[in-house]
C-alpha cells in the first residue's frame, strides 16, 4: 500500500471504486487464473507505457523503486484483491 501511495497510483486507481483507471479488484478479476498475470503486471508497473483515458492517450507512470521484492509484493497484493 505504501508503495502505491508513494508512486501516486491512487490518483487514478482505487481498490474497489470507480476512478479513471480500473479498480484493483477489476485488475485482479481480469488476471484471475492467468499464468502470465504476474509478469504482465510487473512490466506494467515498472515500465512507462501509454493508456487511454476518455479516448485520450496518457502516460502511465511507473513505481519509483527498483527493489524486486517490493515490486513483487505490490503485484501480488493487487492480484489478491
Amino acid at each position: 500500500m505504501a508503495l502505491l501511495e508513494d508512486s501516486k497510483c491512487f490518483k487514478c486507481h482505487s481498490v474497489d471504486k470507480k476512478k479513471d483507471g480500473p479498480a484493483y479488484k477489476e485488475v485482479a478479476a481480469k488476471y484471475k487464473g492467468k499464468p502470465e498475470a504476474e509478469a504482465k503486471l510487473t512490466k506494467h508497473v515498472t515500465q512507462p507505457s501509454k493508456v487511454k483515458i476518455d479516448g485520450v492517450e496518457e502516460d502511465h507512470g511507473a513505481v519509483k523503486i527498483r527493489s524486486e521484492a517490493r515490486i513483487k509484493n505490490l503485484v501480488q497484493w493487487i492480484l489478491s484483491r
Partner: protein, 204 residues
C-alpha cells in the same frame, strides 16, 4: 412549593427595574453578551485544534498517523491543513451544524465503539462514507475552504490535471468525488463518493 417559587421568580423578572438606570442595565447586558460570545467562540476554537482532535487514542493511533504522511501535513511551503480544516466548515452556520452533529461522537467515545484498532478498521468504511456523504451534500465545502477551482492557474497544472479538472467541472463533480482517500487510508466498501451522491440525489 416549587410552583410558588417559580411564580415569584417570574414576577421578579417581569417587574420593571427601579434601582438601576436603563443605561446600566443595557451596558451590563452588552458586556455580559461580549463575555458570553467570546467564551463560546473560544470554546469552539479550542475544539478545532489538532491537539484536541488527536487528544483521544482512537484518532491519534489511526487516522492521524496516516494523515502525517500526506501533503496536507507536510509540504514544501509549510502550509498545514489540520483536521478541522477538512472536517469542519468555516462559515458559522455550517460549522454549528457540524459541531452539533459531532457531539454524537462523544457518545461513541463513551461507549467505546472504535476504542481498538480492530474496531476502528471494522468501522472505517462506515465512518468514511459518512464523511463522503456530508461532503457531496455540501459541494465539498471543506475542500473549498482553501481550494477554489476558479482561482486555479490551469497552466501551472500538469496536462493530466487540467483535463481531469475540466472534465470534473463539465460533469458537475465536486472535489471529493475524485480526491478521496488522500489523507487517510481508502476503505474497502461498496460505494465511493460518486455512488453515494447518486443515491442521495435519488433519495435512497
Amino acid at each position: 412549593m416549587k410552583i410558588a417559587w417559580l411564580t415569584r421568580f417570574w414576577v421578579t423578572l417581569r417587574t420593571p427595574c427601579v434601582k438601576y438606570s436603563l443605561l446600566t442595565v443595557g451596558s451590563s447586558f452588552f458586556v455580559a453578551g461580549i463575555i458570553f460570545w467570546g467564551g463560546f467562540n473560544t470554546a469552539m476554537e479550542a475544539t478545532n485544534t489538532l491537539e484536541f482532535c488527536t487528544g483521544c487514542h482512537e484518532m491519534r493511533d489511526t487516522v492521524y498517523q496516516e494523515y502525517k504522511k500526506t501533503i496536507h501535513y507536510s509540504n514544501r511551503t509549510g502550509v498545514r491543513a489540520i483536521c478541522s480544516d477538512c472536517h469542519v466548515p468555516k462559515d458559522w452556520v455550517h460549522k454549528m451544524a457540524r459541531k452539533i452533529q459531532a457531539s454524537g461522537e462523544v457518545w461513541g467515545k463513551l461507549t467505546g465503539v472504535i476504542d481498538t484498532p480492530e474496531k476502528f478498521e471494522a468501522k472505517r468504511y462506515q465512518l468514511a462514507s459518512r464523511a463522503w456523504a456530508r461532503m457531496v451534500t455540501t459541494d465539498s465545502i471543506e475542500c473549498r475552504n482553501c481550494h477554489h477551482i476558479d482561482s486555479m492557474a490551469a497552466d501551472k497544472q500538469t496536462e493530466k490535471a487540467q483535463r481531469r479538472h475540466a472534465k470534473g467541472k463539465a460533469e458537475g463533480k465536486t472535489c471529493i468525488e475524485c480526491h478521496f482517500g488522500i489523507a487517510h487510508k481508502e476503505p474497502v466498501g461498496a460505494d465511493g463518493p460518486t455512488e453515494l451522491k447518486a443515491k442521495l440525489a435519488a433519495g435512497k
